[in-house]
């Protein structure tokens, strides 16, 4: 019975879970482990799932699984948090934005995203790639919607700056 419900409600979101885990961990093997553990937990807590919230519910479990794995590792110290003051890089862009955006290859965008602190990276992935609403992201991260909004805004600024910097470096070569 529980198995049927799991297959029907959780498994359809396995790709989203894996994609999110991959961006969190930046490592596919690790992402697989995280998603597998998360699914074990999801199965265990299936009764707390309402029928209409499977995707954010599963993504929240993936996130918790990842953070509880991290906290078990002694060498891990949390990176610069999203709310630790403004560390944006100086705006070095001189070229028209459109031109700048077009120059970027997929690889460069991916690497820029990976360089972002995880607090910004995850909101951008959930919003732009998974297409979650602010409300759903707030539920996955367990933070207020206002914080989601400011993280998305600052995450985009930072990503833009990283890409600008990469473009200018390229131009110097």
């Amino acid at each position: 019975m529980a198995t049927g419900r799991f297959e029907e409600t959780v498994l359809p979101h396995l790709d989203a879970a894996f994609n999110y885990a991959r961006w969190l961990t930046r490592n596919e093997a690790e992402a697989e482990d995280v998603v597998q553990d998360a699914c074990v937990r999801a199965l265990r807590f299936l009764t707390s799932l309402r029928d209409d919230n499977a995707r954010p519910w599963l993504l929240a479990i993936v996130r918790n699984t990842w953070y509880s794995r991290l906290s078990r590792r002694s060498h891990f110290t949390r990176g610069i948090g999203a709310d630790d003051g403004d560390l944006d890089m100086p705006d070095a862009a001189l070229d028209p934005e459109e031109q700048m955006l077009q120059q970027h290859t997929v690889t460069r965008v991916r690497s820029a995203l990976e360089q972002l602190p995880v607090d910004f990276r995850e909101v951008l992935v959930l919003r732009e790639i998974e297409g979650l609403s602010y409300k759903e992201i707030a539920a996955v991260l367990n933070i207020p919607i206002g914080t989601v909004m400011s993280r998305i805004a600052r995450g985009r600024e930072r990503l833009m700056n990283i890409l600008r910097l990469a473009t200018n470096m390229e131009a110097l070569r």
């Binding site: 979101h13 937990r41 209409d52 929240a60 955006l101 997929v106 965008v109 790639i129 609403s133 367990n142």
Partner: protein, 241 residues
Amino acid sequence: MSCEHVERDLHAYIDRELGAAEASAVRQHIIDCLECRRRVTELEGLGRLVRSTPYVVAPARLRARVAAQASGRWSATRLVSLAAVAVVVLAVGGGVTLEWRSTTAIDPLTDGVVDAHVRSLMADHLFDVESTDQHTVKPWFLGRIDFAPPVTDLAPIGFPLLGGRLEYIEGRQIAALVYQRAKHTINVFVLPDAKEPSAEEVRAIRGFHVVHWRGDGMAFYVVSDLNQAELRDFAHALRAP
């Protein structure tokens, strides 16, 4: 409206998270203000760049392992380690529950189209006719069903048509049109329904969004894991091309 004012709302605007009044104030401002219009273009371009990164789906072996776990083959040691995190997960699960409580029961047809959407993604059977050309997809349905679902290519506004297929749900013959938005598949289920036209109604079922309405003697069910705001935009465009 001042530029500073707009700047604050710009992200929510491009994410379609503003209320109708606020959104129209921003829209009015960007028509008049070149600077802010550039900002919108730049932010939308950034979004497209992020979405252009490869989407890696869950490996088959992971899917198989998870399915095996679900059918009861998991170890006792796993259970012990789970106890430690139970509280956290329950707290989060509880938070989500409050936000997404469903208010009405799901009727069998709506439930059926969500199932059909899931099946189409998992069984890899999206199309009976695969074409981005509305003039190929539309005639394909002729002679197979006794109604004519409207087939419109919405590629110009970012929702390309991919194809169509036939479904049988709850004993009814249903036309399914397949569209795409970035990595998200959108299934549009159409069947004859002579009842009064109705306004669009959005529901969340098992993590998918369903937009339903009636019009032109047909009932429409749009199903996707795309966010509600963009799915509404899609439904509007489909309704009034």
